[in-house]
């Protein structure tokens, strides 16, 4: 979001957000990000169900995929993964 933010005179009244929540890319909040090792992934999709942000989707091939635009790096997926194929990597 590099465009100029609006001032009080032009902001919508009632503190209503004028952008969809999709436009707020909360992925840059995190200090770590999950990396999935698909060579060991059993396609159980538990990470998809546990992700509190809905940032892990299931692909057509059955593997899961992290959307880093919205992943806040909480690490729940890595903690829940039964085969421990997700590791949290510190962001640089």
């Amino acid at each position: 979001m590099s465009e100029r933010k609006r001032g009080w005179k032009t902001l919508p009244k009632g503190a209503v957000p004028y952008k969809s929540s999709k436009d707020y890319q909360t992925g840059d909040w995190g200090v770590a990000k999950p990396i999935i090792d698909r060579t060991r992934c059993s396609k159980c999709t538990l990470c998809h169900f546990f992700c509190p942000e809905g940032a892990i989707t299931v692909r057509v091939d059955g593997y899961t995929e992290v959307n880093y635009d919205y992943c806040k790096g909480c690490g729940v997926c890595a903690n829940e993964c039964p085969v421990k194929c997700i590791k949290m990597e510190m962001k640089k």
Partner: protein, 405 residues
């Protein structure tokens, strides 16, 4: 044209409940607390008797009462609540949320002192605790003013240029439980006056929409608002409150058209040539007026200014009303422990400070916890003001009226 009216006997609480019955808001969520109880009792009778269509929510606390009103109002409903003292204090968190989310809720407050020690009687410490929250605050002198404010408040709250919650303040017991003659409008005229709720225009992700929760035009109300937007939104509120000074005048004029009663932000009384004057809020101003008349008969050039509007603070109207009076006493039923004076005194002095010729100002804290403010005490205040005039100095900026030493 002035609408047909009749006189009925109503105490302040009943006047509030009756006016609200005539408005017939969509949702009433309230919890009874002395001295506001009669409002809730009467209104629940109106609901039980089918005289109103309102959804009455018997909540478990004042925090919930106002929370329910915020939710109802955000969904587009007209919402009313009533409270006093510790009930208002329990609402504190939601007061700011209601105002910050620009919900045009109307609330009656039968002003009562805050415990502890516990006491159920009148002063303005409850309302003064809410003065910074973003609510419009009207103060009433008698039951008639309660009725008028309780009808008018909806038009003020929902005005396209305002859209803020309104608090109708009237003194506990002194007004809330004292029956007086009140001119009331007919139901149809009240309904016509308040009309349908007006929604403020705002802008969601898909463009301009009405400010209410509607699945067809979805918006978020009350999301997280961090460092980069919160300040801007607070400035919006402050500027809207300032702007409401113009809009409330317009509503007052419309109200005068149907009732014949002229509403002002401040009411100067015998101020033209006054040498000593008192400014204040609420029912005590009726007694002050009597004392001013007595003093005038005795040759003392006394005057007074009653304030009906406290938020927004009517700066220009107050300056005009005070005029060139050389000595001004602020009489208030409130305090700020550790502060340089009580709230009204601090604000009146702030307003006067930049004037090239400003009066001496002294603060007279009175009537805390319902202690009677008698005509004799008010005479003492005027005597004190005369001494300031003679001496040309304020020796005691803040004093307590009628308290035992």
């Amino acid at each position: 044209m002035v609408a047909k009216q009749k006189i009925v006997g109503l105490n302040g609480d009943e006047a509030s409940a009756y006016a609200t019955k005539q408005v017939d808001p969509d949702v009433v969520a309230a919890y009874p607390i002395t001295p506001q109880t009669i409002i809730v009792e009467r209104f629940s009778e109106y609901v039980a008797d089918g005289l109103v269509g309102s959804e009455f929510v018997a909540v478990e606390s004042e925090h919930s009462a106002l929370s329910a009103c915020v939710g109802a109002s955000a969904a587009g409903a007209r919402a009313f609540t009533a409270t006093a003292a510790n009930g208002l204090a329990l609402m504190w968190e939601i007061l700011y949320i209601a105002a910050g989310l620009r919900q045009p809720i109307v609330m009656a407050v039968a002003n009562r002192c805050l415990g502890g020690p516990i006491n159920i009687h009148n002063d303005h410490s409850d309302a003064m605790g809410a003065r910074d929250s973003g609510w419009i605050q009207l103060f009433c002198e008698n039951s008639q003013e309660v009725y008028d404010a309780s009808v008018e408040a909806w038009r003020i709250a929902e005005h396209a240029d305002i859209q803020m919650p309104v608090m109708v303040n009237f003194d506990g017991f002194t007004i809330s439980h004292t029956m007086e003659n009140v001119y009331i409008l007919e139901d149809a005229d009240v309904k016509k006056f308040v009309g349908k709720r007006i929604y403020m225009k705002t802008e969601g992700p898909k463009g301009e929409v009405e400010f209410k929760l509607d699945p067809d035009t979805p918006i978020s109300i009350g999301p997280l608002d961090l460092q980069d937007f919160y300040f801007e939104h607070k400035v919006q509120q402050m500027e809207a409150m300032k702007g409401s000074l113009k809009a409330i005048k317009a509503v007052d004029k419309e109200f005068e058209k149907i009732t014949g009663r002229k509403l002002e932000y401040v009411y100067p009384y015998k101020m033209d040539d006054a040498e000593v004057a008192v400014v204040g809020l609420g029912s005590a101003m009726g007694t002050v007026r009597e004392v001013v008349d007595e003093l005038r008969a005795e040759g003392v050039k006394a005057g007074m200014v009653k304030m009906r509007l406290f938020r927004p603070f009517p700066v220009e109207d107050l300056k005009n009303a005070i005029g060139n009076v050389p000595v001004l006493g602020v009489m208030e039923k409130a305090y700020s422990i550790g502060g340089p004076g009580a709230p009204l005194y601090e604000e009146v002095k702030t307003v006067l400070y930049d004037l090239p010729k400003r009066p001496f100002v002294a603060d007279y804290i009175n009537g805390l916890g319902g202690k009677d403010t008698s005509p004799e005490m008010i005479r003492d205040v005027f005597k004190s003001l005369q001494r300031i005039k003679e001496r040309g100095a304020v020796l005691e900026p803040v004093s307590y009226v009628g308290v035992r030493e």
